[in-house]
Protein backbone atom coordinates (compact mmCIF):
# COMPACT_ATOMS: atom_id res chain seq x y z
CA UNK A 1 0.00 0.00 0.00
CA UNK A 2 1.81 3.04 -1.22
CA UNK A 3 -0.12 5.82 0.35
CA UNK A 4 0.10 5.14 3.99
CA UNK A 5 -1.98 7.29 6.25
CA UNK A 6 1.03 8.83 7.84
CA UNK A 7 2.32 9.84 4.42
CA UNK A 8 -0.78 11.79 3.47
CA UNK A 9 -0.47 14.65 5.93
CA UNK A 10 3.19 15.39 5.21
CA UNK A 11 2.50 15.17 1.50
CA UNK A 12 -0.34 17.66 1.68
CA UNK A 13 1.67 19.87 3.98
CA UNK A 14 4.65 19.74 1.67
CA UNK A 15 2.48 20.69 -1.27
CA UNK A 16 1.02 23.62 0.57
CA UNK A 17 4.36 24.82 1.88
CA UNK A 18 6.19 24.53 -1.39
CA UNK A 19 3.38 25.73 -3.59
CA UNK A 20 4.30 29.43 -3.48
CA UNK A 21 7.77 28.54 -4.72
CA UNK A 22 6.58 26.68 -7.75
CA UNK A 23 5.75 27.84 -11.20
CA UNK A 24 2.12 27.83 -12.26
CA UNK A 25 -0.15 25.23 -14.15
CA UNK A 26 -2.21 23.59 -16.85
CA UNK A 27 -5.49 25.37 -17.09
CA UNK A 28 -7.12 27.15 -19.96
CA UNK A 29 -8.95 29.69 -17.88
CA UNK A 30 -8.15 33.03 -19.29
CA UNK A 31 -8.07 36.20 -17.21
CA UNK A 32 -7.92 38.24 -20.41
CA UNK A 33 -11.69 37.79 -20.59
CA UNK A 34 -12.05 38.88 -16.99
CA UNK A 35 -10.08 42.04 -17.66
CA UNK A 36 -11.89 42.74 -20.90
CA UNK A 37 -15.36 42.45 -19.42
CA UNK A 38 -14.42 43.69 -15.96
CA UNK A 39 -15.98 40.73 -14.27
CA UNK A 40 -14.77 38.07 -11.89
CA UNK A 41 -13.59 34.58 -12.83
CA UNK A 42 -16.66 33.05 -11.20
CA UNK A 43 -18.82 34.58 -13.91
CA UNK A 44 -17.70 31.72 -16.14
CA UNK A 45 -16.07 29.19 -13.84
CA UNK A 46 -16.77 27.10 -10.77
CA UNK A 47 -13.20 26.35 -9.83
CA UNK A 48 -11.28 27.25 -12.93
CA UNK A 49 -10.82 25.99 -15.54
CA UNK A 50 -14.13 24.15 -15.24
CA UNK A 51 -16.85 26.20 -16.88
CA UNK A 52 -20.23 26.92 -15.40
CA UNK A 53 -23.30 27.25 -17.60
CA UNK A 54 -22.65 30.88 -18.46
CA UNK A 55 -19.01 30.15 -19.26
CA UNK A 56 -20.13 27.43 -21.63
CA UNK A 57 -22.47 29.91 -23.32
CA UNK A 58 -19.61 32.40 -23.62
CA UNK A 59 -17.49 29.73 -25.25
CA UNK A 60 -20.25 28.77 -27.67
CA UNK A 61 -20.80 32.43 -28.45
CA UNK A 62 -17.21 32.56 -29.71
CA UNK A 63 -15.90 34.69 -26.82
CA UNK A 64 -18.47 37.42 -27.28
CA UNK A 65 -20.33 38.25 -24.10
CA UNK A 66 -23.75 36.65 -24.51
CA UNK A 67 -26.28 39.29 -25.40
CA UNK A 68 -27.72 41.07 -28.32
CA UNK A 69 -25.75 41.64 -31.48
CA UNK A 70 -23.69 44.80 -31.15
CA UNK A 71 -23.38 44.64 -27.39
CA UNK A 72 -19.77 43.60 -27.70
CA UNK A 73 -18.88 47.19 -28.39
CA UNK A 74 -17.30 49.01 -25.51
CA UNK A 75 -19.81 51.25 -23.80
CA UNK A 76 -18.02 54.39 -24.88
CA UNK A 77 -18.52 53.32 -28.47
CA UNK A 78 -22.15 52.43 -28.26
CA UNK A 79 -24.53 54.54 -30.20
CA UNK A 80 -26.35 55.52 -27.03
CA UNK A 81 -23.12 56.71 -25.44
CA UNK A 82 -21.95 59.35 -27.80
CA UNK A 83 -23.13 58.70 -31.30
CA UNK A 84 -22.59 55.87 -33.73
CA UNK A 85 -19.14 54.42 -33.12
CA UNK A 86 -18.45 57.53 -31.13
CA UNK A 87 -16.78 57.97 -27.81
CA UNK A 88 -13.20 57.85 -26.73
CA UNK A 89 -12.62 54.37 -28.09
CA UNK A 90 -13.62 54.97 -31.66
CA UNK A 91 -10.19 53.96 -32.89
CA UNK A 92 -10.60 50.52 -31.37
CA UNK A 93 -14.08 50.08 -32.78
CA UNK A 94 -13.13 51.13 -36.29
CA UNK A 95 -10.03 48.98 -36.26
CA UNK A 96 -11.87 46.03 -34.78
CA UNK A 97 -9.24 45.83 -32.08
CA UNK A 98 -9.70 44.70 -28.50
CA UNK A 99 -8.96 47.69 -26.28
CA UNK A 100 -6.54 45.71 -24.16
CA UNK A 101 -3.98 43.20 -25.31
CA UNK A 102 -5.92 40.03 -24.54
CA UNK A 103 -3.12 37.94 -23.13
CA UNK A 104 -2.98 35.76 -20.04
CA UNK A 105 -0.50 33.35 -18.55
CA UNK A 106 -1.10 30.13 -16.70
CA UNK A 107 1.49 28.26 -14.73
CA UNK A 108 1.33 24.87 -13.06
CA UNK A 109 3.55 22.92 -10.78
CA UNK A 110 2.90 19.30 -9.91
CA UNK A 111 4.06 17.21 -7.04
CA UNK A 112 3.63 13.49 -7.60
CA UNK A 113 4.23 10.63 -5.23
CA UNK A 114 4.50 7.18 -6.74
CA UNK A 115 5.67 4.45 -4.43
CA UNK A 116 6.26 2.15 -7.40
CA UNK A 117 8.14 4.64 -9.55
CA UNK A 118 10.21 2.66 -12.03
CA UNK A 119 13.25 4.84 -11.45
CA UNK A 120 12.93 4.84 -7.69
CA UNK A 121 12.18 8.55 -7.64
CA UNK A 122 9.08 8.34 -5.50
CA UNK A 123 8.58 12.04 -4.98
CA UNK A 124 8.67 14.02 -8.19
CA UNK A 125 8.68 17.79 -8.04
CA UNK A 126 10.08 18.45 -11.47
CA UNK A 127 6.87 18.87 -13.44
CA UNK A 128 5.86 22.37 -14.35
CA UNK A 129 4.56 24.37 -17.25
CA UNK A 130 3.95 27.90 -18.37
CA UNK A 131 1.37 28.70 -20.99
CA UNK A 132 0.26 31.76 -22.81
CA UNK A 133 -3.35 32.31 -23.69
CA UNK A 134 -4.94 34.91 -25.85
CA UNK A 135 -8.60 35.24 -26.63
CA UNK A 136 -11.29 37.71 -27.45
CA UNK A 137 -13.42 39.09 -30.20
CA UNK A 138 -13.08 41.52 -33.04
CA UNK A 139 -16.21 43.57 -32.38
CA UNK A 140 -18.80 40.83 -32.46
CA UNK A 141 -17.85 39.67 -35.95
CA UNK A 142 -15.18 37.17 -35.02
CA UNK A 143 -13.75 35.43 -32.01
CA UNK A 144 -10.27 34.09 -31.57
CA UNK A 145 -8.39 31.91 -29.14
CA UNK A 146 -4.75 30.93 -28.79
CA UNK A 147 -2.95 28.61 -26.41
CA UNK A 148 0.80 28.56 -26.70
CA UNK A 149 2.89 26.24 -24.58
CA UNK A 150 5.83 28.36 -23.59
CA UNK A 151 7.52 25.86 -21.40
CA UNK A 152 6.95 22.41 -20.03
CA UNK A 153 9.23 20.24 -18.03
CA UNK A 154 8.94 16.70 -16.83
CA UNK A 155 6.30 14.11 -17.54
CA UNK A 156 3.79 16.90 -17.92
CA UNK A 157 0.59 15.45 -16.62
CA UNK A 158 -1.49 18.30 -17.91
CA UNK A 159 0.01 18.32 -21.31
CA UNK A 160 -1.58 17.99 -24.68
CA UNK A 161 -0.59 14.44 -25.32
CA UNK A 162 -1.94 13.40 -28.65
CA UNK A 163 -1.06 16.26 -30.98
CA UNK A 164 2.57 15.87 -30.07
CA UNK A 165 2.45 12.51 -31.75
CA UNK A 166 0.13 13.37 -34.54
CA UNK A 167 2.75 14.89 -36.74
CA UNK A 168 0.86 18.17 -36.66
CA UNK A 169 2.45 19.49 -33.51
CA UNK A 170 6.02 19.41 -32.22
CA UNK A 171 6.71 16.94 -29.44
CA UNK A 172 6.11 17.78 -25.84
CA UNK A 173 8.62 19.76 -23.82
CA UNK A 174 9.14 22.17 -26.66
CA UNK A 175 7.18 25.34 -27.25
CA UNK A 176 4.20 24.68 -29.46
CA UNK A 177 0.87 26.04 -30.48
CA UNK A 178 -1.86 24.00 -28.91
CA UNK A 179 -4.75 26.03 -30.25
CA UNK A 180 -4.91 28.92 -32.65
CA UNK A 181 -8.20 29.58 -34.34
CA UNK A 182 -10.57 32.20 -35.56
CA UNK A 183 -14.35 31.96 -35.58
CA UNK A 184 -16.30 33.96 -38.11
CA UNK A 185 -19.53 34.48 -36.25
CA UNK A 186 -22.79 34.38 -38.17
CA UNK A 187 -20.95 33.99 -41.43
CA UNK A 188 -22.54 35.89 -44.32
CA UNK A 189 -25.41 36.85 -42.06
CA UNK A 190 -26.42 33.24 -41.45
CA UNK A 191 -26.70 31.53 -38.06
CA UNK A 192 -23.65 29.46 -38.98
CA UNK A 193 -20.28 30.08 -37.34
CA UNK A 194 -17.15 29.15 -39.24
CA UNK A 195 -14.09 28.13 -37.29
CA UNK A 196 -10.70 27.71 -38.89
CA UNK A 197 -7.24 26.97 -37.53
CA UNK A 198 -5.96 24.53 -34.94
CA UNK A 199 -8.56 23.60 -32.38
CA UNK A 200 -10.21 20.73 -30.61
CA UNK A 201 -12.84 19.48 -33.03
CA UNK A 202 -16.26 19.85 -31.46
CA UNK A 203 -16.89 16.25 -30.49
CA UNK A 204 -17.19 16.06 -26.75
CA UNK A 205 -19.51 18.18 -24.64
CA UNK A 206 -16.49 19.40 -22.73
CA UNK A 207 -13.27 20.88 -23.97
CA UNK A 208 -10.21 19.16 -22.64
CA UNK A 209 -9.57 22.10 -20.36
CA UNK A 210 -13.12 22.10 -19.03
CA UNK A 211 -12.33 19.97 -15.97
CA UNK A 212 -11.88 20.47 -12.29
CA UNK A 213 -8.87 18.19 -12.61
CA UNK A 214 -7.36 17.83 -16.04
CA UNK A 215 -5.00 15.07 -15.15
CA UNK A 216 -5.60 12.52 -16.41
CA UNK A 217 -8.20 13.57 -18.92
CA UNK A 218 -11.36 11.51 -19.34
CA UNK A 219 -10.57 8.09 -20.72
CA UNK A 220 -13.55 8.33 -23.06
CA UNK A 221 -12.02 11.27 -24.91
CA UNK A 222 -8.29 10.87 -24.30
CA UNK A 223 -7.68 7.19 -24.93
CA UNK A 224 -5.23 6.05 -27.56
CA UNK A 225 -5.17 2.77 -29.43
CA UNK A 226 -1.91 1.04 -30.22
CA UNK A 227 0.52 3.37 -31.93
CA UNK A 228 -2.18 5.57 -33.38
CA UNK A 229 -1.81 9.11 -32.11
CA UNK A 230 -5.49 9.92 -32.45
CA UNK A 231 -7.63 10.85 -29.49
CA UNK A 232 -11.01 12.52 -29.48
CA UNK A 233 -9.78 15.58 -27.62
CA UNK A 234 -6.58 16.24 -29.56
CA UNK A 235 -6.34 19.61 -31.30
CA UNK A 236 -6.31 19.29 -35.07
CA UNK A 237 -5.87 21.56 -38.06
CA UNK A 238 -9.28 21.95 -39.53
CA UNK A 239 -12.35 23.84 -40.51
CA UNK A 240 -15.63 23.59 -38.63
CA UNK A 241 -19.16 24.83 -39.07
CA UNK A 242 -21.50 25.05 -36.13
CA UNK A 243 -24.87 26.53 -35.43
CA UNK A 244 -27.46 26.76 -32.71
CA UNK A 245 -31.07 25.81 -33.30
CA UNK A 246 -33.60 27.13 -30.85
CA UNK A 247 -30.76 28.06 -28.50
CA UNK A 248 -30.78 24.53 -27.09
CA UNK A 249 -29.58 22.34 -29.93
CA UNK A 250 -26.00 22.66 -31.14
CA UNK A 251 -24.88 21.09 -34.39
CA UNK A 252 -21.28 21.05 -35.50
CA UNK A 253 -19.34 19.40 -38.26
CA UNK A 254 -15.97 19.81 -39.84
CA UNK A 255 -13.01 18.49 -41.76
CA UNK A 256 -9.49 17.90 -40.50
CA UNK A 257 -6.34 18.16 -42.54
CA UNK A 258 -3.81 15.63 -41.27
CA UNK A 259 -0.23 15.84 -42.40
CA UNK A 260 1.30 13.20 -44.61
CA UNK A 261 -1.78 12.37 -46.65
CA UNK A 262 -4.13 13.99 -49.08
CA UNK A 263 -7.40 12.67 -47.71
CA UNK A 264 -9.41 14.78 -45.29
CA UNK A 265 -11.06 13.52 -42.14
CA UNK A 266 -14.57 14.36 -41.09
CA UNK A 267 -16.60 14.62 -37.92
CA UNK A 268 -19.96 15.66 -36.57
CA UNK A 269 -21.48 16.55 -33.24
CA UNK A 270 -24.94 17.23 -31.83
CA UNK A 271 -25.85 18.28 -28.33
CA UNK A 272 -29.16 19.09 -26.72
CA UNK A 273 -29.65 21.00 -23.50
CA UNK A 274 -32.76 20.41 -21.46
CA UNK A 275 -33.44 22.84 -18.65
CA UNK A 276 -31.08 25.39 -17.18
CA UNK A 277 -29.38 28.26 -18.93
CA UNK A 278 -29.59 27.79 -22.68
CA UNK A 279 -26.58 27.73 -24.98
CA UNK A 280 -26.97 31.47 -25.53
CA UNK A 281 -26.74 32.24 -21.83
CA UNK A 282 -30.43 33.00 -21.27
CA UNK A 283 -31.73 32.01 -17.88
CA UNK A 284 -34.68 29.61 -17.81
CA UNK A 285 -38.17 30.71 -16.90
CA UNK A 286 -38.55 30.14 -13.18
CA UNK A 287 -41.68 30.81 -11.19
CA UNK A 288 -40.56 32.57 -8.04
CA UNK A 289 -43.86 31.71 -6.36
CA UNK A 290 -43.66 27.92 -6.65
CA UNK A 291 -41.07 25.18 -6.80
CA UNK A 292 -40.19 22.86 -9.64
CA UNK A 293 -37.38 20.37 -10.10
CA UNK A 294 -36.52 22.19 -13.33
CA UNK A 295 -35.64 25.29 -11.35
CA UNK A 296 -32.26 23.72 -10.80
CA UNK A 297 -32.01 20.69 -13.05
CA UNK A 298 -30.05 20.82 -16.27
CA UNK A 299 -29.48 17.84 -18.54
CA UNK A 300 -27.25 18.03 -21.58
CA UNK A 301 -26.96 15.16 -24.02
CA UNK A 302 -24.28 14.89 -26.66
CA UNK A 303 -23.26 12.56 -29.46
CA UNK A 304 -20.43 12.57 -31.94
CA UNK A 305 -18.71 10.67 -34.70
CA UNK A 306 -15.26 10.96 -36.26
CA UNK A 307 -13.83 9.19 -39.25
CA UNK A 308 -10.15 9.48 -40.05
CA UNK A 309 -6.94 7.93 -41.20
CA UNK A 310 -3.38 8.18 -39.95
CA UNK A 311 -0.12 6.36 -40.43
CA UNK A 312 3.55 6.18 -39.75
CA UNK A 313 5.60 8.85 -41.45
CA UNK A 314 8.42 7.75 -43.73
CA UNK A 315 11.58 9.80 -44.24
CA UNK A 316 9.74 12.05 -46.66
CA UNK A 317 6.97 12.74 -44.18
CA UNK A 318 4.43 10.66 -46.05
CA UNK A 319 2.12 8.49 -44.00
CA UNK A 320 2.63 4.75 -44.56
CA UNK A 321 1.05 1.66 -43.00
CA UNK A 322 -2.21 3.52 -42.95
CA UNK A 323 -4.77 3.07 -40.22
CA UNK A 324 -8.37 3.89 -41.01
CA UNK A 325 -10.36 4.46 -37.88
CA UNK A 326 -13.58 5.85 -36.50
CA UNK A 327 -14.97 6.84 -33.13
CA UNK A 328 -18.54 7.30 -32.03
CA UNK A 329 -19.57 8.44 -28.61
CA UNK A 330 -22.35 9.60 -26.37
CA UNK A 331 -22.21 11.84 -23.31
CA UNK A 332 -24.44 13.17 -20.62
CA UNK A 333 -24.03 16.10 -18.28
CA UNK A 334 -26.38 16.49 -15.32
CA UNK A 335 -26.33 19.52 -13.09
CA UNK A 336 -28.53 19.89 -10.06
CA UNK A 337 -27.75 22.72 -7.69
CA UNK A 338 -24.25 21.95 -6.41
CA UNK A 339 -24.07 18.42 -7.76
CA UNK A 340 -22.56 17.80 -11.17
CA UNK A 341 -22.41 14.44 -12.91
CA UNK A 342 -20.62 13.85 -16.18
CA UNK A 343 -20.49 10.64 -18.12
CA UNK A 344 -19.17 9.64 -21.50
CA UNK A 345 -18.78 6.50 -23.59
CA UNK A 346 -16.77 6.13 -26.78
CA UNK A 347 -16.53 3.21 -29.13
CA UNK A 348 -14.04 2.89 -31.95
CA UNK A 349 -12.50 0.68 -34.57
CA UNK A 350 -8.99 0.89 -35.97
CA UNK A 351 -7.98 -1.17 -38.99
CA UNK A 352 -4.27 -0.95 -38.26
CA UNK A 353 -3.71 0.59 -34.83
CA UNK A 354 -0.11 -0.59 -34.61
CA UNK A 355 0.67 1.16 -37.90
CA UNK A 356 2.38 -2.06 -38.88
CA UNK A 357 3.07 -3.64 -42.24
CA UNK A 358 0.43 -6.23 -41.52
CA UNK A 359 -2.81 -4.72 -40.36
CA UNK A 360 -4.58 -6.16 -37.32
CA UNK A 361 -7.99 -4.64 -36.73
CA UNK A 362 -9.04 -3.71 -33.22
CA UNK A 363 -12.22 -2.49 -31.60
CA UNK A 364 -11.86 -0.23 -28.60
CA UNK A 365 -14.12 1.42 -26.10
CA UNK A 366 -13.80 3.59 -23.06
CA UNK A 367 -16.05 5.30 -20.60
CA UNK A 368 -15.74 7.73 -17.73
CA UNK A 369 -18.11 8.84 -15.01
CA UNK A 370 -17.34 11.75 -12.74
CA UNK A 371 -19.41 13.16 -9.91
CA UNK A 372 -18.52 16.39 -8.19
CA UNK A 373 -20.06 18.51 -5.48
CA UNK A 374 -19.39 22.23 -5.53
CA UNK A 375 -19.26 23.53 -2.00
CA UNK A 376 -18.63 27.08 -3.15
CA UNK A 377 -18.64 30.10 -0.88
CA UNK A 378 -17.39 30.51 1.74
CA UNK A 379 -15.10 27.51 1.09
CA UNK A 380 -14.37 27.27 -2.60
CA UNK A 381 -13.89 23.53 -2.62
CA UNK A 382 -14.94 20.69 -4.90
CA UNK A 383 -14.64 17.07 -3.85
CA UNK A 384 -15.07 14.68 -6.75
CA UNK A 385 -14.76 11.08 -7.71
CA UNK A 386 -14.10 9.65 -11.12
CA UNK A 387 -14.27 6.10 -12.37
CA UNK A 388 -13.13 5.25 -15.85
CA UNK A 389 -12.38 2.26 -17.99
CA UNK A 390 -10.69 1.80 -21.28
CA UNK A 391 -10.15 -1.27 -23.41
CA UNK A 392 -6.65 -1.37 -24.88
CA UNK A 393 -4.80 -3.83 -27.04
CA UNK A 394 -3.57 -5.67 -23.96
CA UNK A 395 -6.83 -5.58 -22.04
CA UNK A 396 -8.85 -3.29 -19.86
CA UNK A 397 -7.63 -0.55 -17.55
CA UNK A 398 -9.68 0.82 -14.69
CA UNK A 399 -8.98 4.01 -12.84
CA UNK A 400 -10.44 5.23 -9.58
CA UNK A 401 -9.73 8.87 -8.88
CA UNK A 402 -10.89 10.67 -5.77
CA UNK A 403 -9.81 14.31 -5.74
CA UNK A 404 -10.16 17.64 -4.04
CA UNK A 405 -9.89 21.01 -5.73
CA UNK A 406 -9.57 24.18 -3.73
CA UNK A 407 -9.46 27.76 -4.92
CA UNK A 408 -8.20 30.12 -2.21
CA UNK A 409 -8.53 32.87 -4.80
CA UNK A 410 -10.51 32.65 -7.99
CA UNK A 411 -7.36 32.64 -10.11
CA UNK A 412 -5.53 30.07 -8.03
CA UNK A 413 -6.24 26.38 -7.74
CA UNK A 414 -4.77 23.64 -5.65
CA UNK A 415 -5.74 20.06 -6.37
CA UNK A 416 -5.02 16.87 -4.52
CA UNK A 417 -5.84 13.57 -6.12
CA UNK A 418 -5.23 9.91 -5.78
CA UNK A 419 -5.11 7.80 -8.91
CA UNK A 420 -5.53 4.07 -8.58
CA UNK A 421 -5.01 2.28 -11.87
CA UNK A 422 -5.70 -1.38 -12.42
CA UNK A 423 -4.18 -2.29 -15.77
CA UNK A 424 -3.10 -5.55 -17.44
CA UNK A 425 0.48 -4.57 -16.66
CA UNK A 426 -0.32 -4.27 -12.97
CA UNK A 427 -1.69 -1.76 -10.52
CA UNK A 428 -0.36 1.70 -9.94
CA UNK A 429 -1.13 4.16 -7.20
CA UNK A 430 -0.14 7.76 -7.48
CA UNK A 431 -0.85 10.77 -5.34
CA UNK A 432 -0.68 14.06 -7.11
CA UNK A 433 -0.74 17.61 -5.84
CA UNK A 434 -0.97 20.40 -8.35
CA UNK A 435 -0.87 24.13 -8.06
CA UNK A 436 -2.10 26.34 -10.87
CA UNK A 437 -2.60 30.03 -11.20
CA UNK A 438 -3.49 32.37 -14.02
CA UNK A 439 -2.82 36.04 -14.42
Amino acid sequence: MFLKKRAVAPLCFLGLVLSPLLLPGSADAIPAFSRQHKTECSTCHTIYPELNEFGDAFLKNSYVYPGKKGDAAPQGDRADKGGARGGANEWAWISGLPEQIPISFTGTADLAYDNDAFDGNKLDLSVRSLRLHAGGAFRDAAGFFVTYNLYTQGAQTGQISAPGNSGNTPPNNTPNINELFLVWRNALGTPVNLKVGRFEPKLSLWKRSNRVIGVPSYASTAYLVGNSPFSVDAPQDGLELNLLLGNRLLLAGGVVDRNGQNRKEGYGHASLKIGGTDFKGHEPEVDLESDSVWDFLTITLGGFGYSGRNGQFDTLGIARNLNEFYRVGGEIDILYKRFHLKGGYTFGRDKNPLLANVADEFESDAYAVEGEYYLGAPVNLIPLFRYEYQEGLRGGTRRYIPALAYAPLQNTRLTLQYIYSDAPEGTNKTALASLAFSL
Binding site: P66, A73, Q75, L288, D295, K337
Partner: protein, 119 residues
Protein backbone atom coordinates in the same frame (compact mmCIF):
# COMPACT_ATOMS: atom_id res chain seq x y z
CA UNK B 1 -23.24 86.48 -13.33
CA UNK B 2 -26.99 86.14 -13.10
CA UNK B 3 -27.01 83.91 -16.16
CA UNK B 4 -24.32 81.75 -14.67
CA UNK B 5 -26.22 81.34 -11.42
CA UNK B 6 -29.41 80.46 -13.24
CA UNK B 7 -27.55 77.92 -15.37
CA UNK B 8 -25.91 76.36 -12.34
CA UNK B 9 -29.23 76.21 -10.53
CA UNK B 10 -30.87 74.53 -13.51
CA UNK B 11 -28.04 72.01 -13.79
CA UNK B 12 -28.19 71.24 -10.09
CA UNK B 13 -31.95 70.79 -10.26
CA UNK B 14 -31.79 68.48 -13.24
CA UNK B 15 -28.97 66.40 -11.69
CA UNK B 16 -30.98 65.90 -8.53
CA UNK B 17 -34.15 65.12 -10.43
CA UNK B 18 -32.50 62.37 -12.44
CA UNK B 19 -32.51 59.94 -9.50
CA UNK B 20 -34.76 61.72 -7.12
CA UNK B 21 -36.08 58.45 -5.70
CA UNK B 22 -32.72 56.93 -4.83
CA UNK B 23 -30.69 58.16 -1.92
CA UNK B 24 -27.21 56.81 -2.37
CA UNK B 25 -24.62 56.91 0.36
CA UNK B 26 -20.90 56.48 -0.19
CA UNK B 27 -18.91 55.72 -3.27
CA UNK B 28 -17.30 52.75 -4.94
CA UNK B 29 -17.19 49.59 -2.87
CA UNK B 30 -18.83 51.41 0.04
CA UNK B 31 -21.81 52.59 -2.02
CA UNK B 32 -25.16 51.71 -0.54
CA UNK B 33 -28.72 52.91 -0.43
CA UNK B 34 -30.35 54.95 2.31
CA UNK B 35 -33.50 52.98 3.09
CA UNK B 36 -34.95 55.51 5.53
CA UNK B 37 -37.70 56.48 3.09
CA UNK B 38 -38.39 52.94 1.88
CA UNK B 39 -41.81 51.41 2.59
CA UNK B 40 -41.56 48.74 5.31
CA UNK B 41 -41.76 45.85 2.84
CA UNK B 42 -38.92 47.28 0.77
CA UNK B 43 -36.87 47.94 3.87
CA UNK B 44 -37.12 44.25 4.69
CA UNK B 45 -36.16 43.37 1.13
CA UNK B 46 -33.20 45.71 1.31
CA UNK B 47 -32.01 43.96 4.45
CA UNK B 48 -31.79 40.78 2.39
CA UNK B 49 -30.04 42.45 -0.54
CA UNK B 50 -27.41 44.24 1.52
CA UNK B 51 -26.46 40.97 3.20
CA UNK B 52 -26.80 38.40 0.43
CA UNK B 53 -25.70 40.25 -2.70
CA UNK B 54 -22.50 41.64 -1.24
CA UNK B 55 -21.17 38.16 -0.65
CA UNK B 56 -20.16 38.07 -4.29
CA UNK B 57 -20.19 41.67 -5.54
CA UNK B 58 -20.55 45.21 -4.30
CA UNK B 59 -23.86 47.00 -4.09
CA UNK B 60 -22.38 49.56 -6.45
CA UNK B 61 -22.88 47.15 -9.33
CA UNK B 62 -26.59 46.90 -8.56
CA UNK B 63 -27.09 50.60 -7.83
CA UNK B 64 -25.33 51.70 -11.02
CA UNK B 65 -27.48 49.30 -13.04
CA UNK B 66 -30.64 50.74 -11.50
CA UNK B 67 -29.51 54.33 -11.92
CA UNK B 68 -28.37 53.99 -15.52
CA UNK B 69 -30.73 51.32 -16.74
CA UNK B 70 -27.74 49.46 -18.14
CA UNK B 71 -26.10 46.40 -16.59
CA UNK B 72 -22.49 47.50 -16.09
CA UNK B 73 -20.80 44.28 -17.22
CA UNK B 74 -22.98 43.00 -20.03
CA UNK B 75 -24.02 46.45 -21.25
CA UNK B 76 -27.52 45.12 -21.70
CA UNK B 77 -30.66 46.99 -20.61
CA UNK B 78 -31.41 46.63 -16.93
CA UNK B 79 -35.20 46.63 -16.82
CA UNK B 80 -37.88 44.57 -15.14
CA UNK B 81 -37.31 41.53 -17.32
CA UNK B 82 -33.59 41.80 -16.61
CA UNK B 83 -34.12 41.94 -12.85
CA UNK B 84 -36.06 38.70 -13.02
CA UNK B 85 -33.35 37.09 -15.16
CA UNK B 86 -30.63 38.21 -12.78
CA UNK B 87 -32.67 36.97 -9.86
CA UNK B 88 -33.02 33.56 -11.48
CA UNK B 89 -29.32 33.57 -12.25
CA UNK B 90 -28.49 34.21 -8.61
CA UNK B 91 -31.00 31.61 -7.47
CA UNK B 92 -29.34 29.00 -9.65
CA UNK B 93 -25.79 30.06 -8.85
CA UNK B 94 -24.63 27.16 -6.69
CA UNK B 95 -22.86 29.17 -4.03
CA UNK B 96 -25.15 32.18 -3.85
CA UNK B 97 -26.92 30.62 -0.86
CA UNK B 98 -30.10 32.43 -1.82
CA UNK B 99 -33.50 30.85 -1.38
CA UNK B 100 -36.39 31.48 -3.70
CA UNK B 101 -38.18 33.85 -1.26
CA UNK B 102 -34.95 35.82 -0.87
CA UNK B 103 -34.53 36.08 -4.61
CA UNK B 104 -38.14 37.18 -5.00
CA UNK B 105 -37.61 39.84 -2.35
CA UNK B 106 -34.51 41.06 -4.18
CA UNK B 107 -36.29 41.19 -7.52
CA UNK B 108 -39.22 43.05 -5.98
CA UNK B 109 -36.84 45.58 -4.47
CA UNK B 110 -34.96 46.14 -7.73
CA UNK B 111 -38.23 46.62 -9.60
CA UNK B 112 -39.39 49.12 -7.02
CA UNK B 113 -36.06 50.92 -7.17
CA UNK B 114 -36.29 51.08 -10.95
CA UNK B 115 -39.64 52.78 -10.62
CA UNK B 116 -38.27 55.18 -8.03
CA UNK B 117 -35.24 55.96 -10.17
CA UNK B 118 -37.48 56.84 -13.10
CA UNK B 119 -39.34 59.51 -11.11
Amino acid sequence: MKKLLVTMLLLATSATAAHAGLKVIGKGDAMRLDPSDFPPAMKANYDIVRVKCVKCHTLERTIVAIQTGVAPISGQPFDRSATKAYGVKMLRKPDSNMSKPEVKASVDLMNWLLTEAER
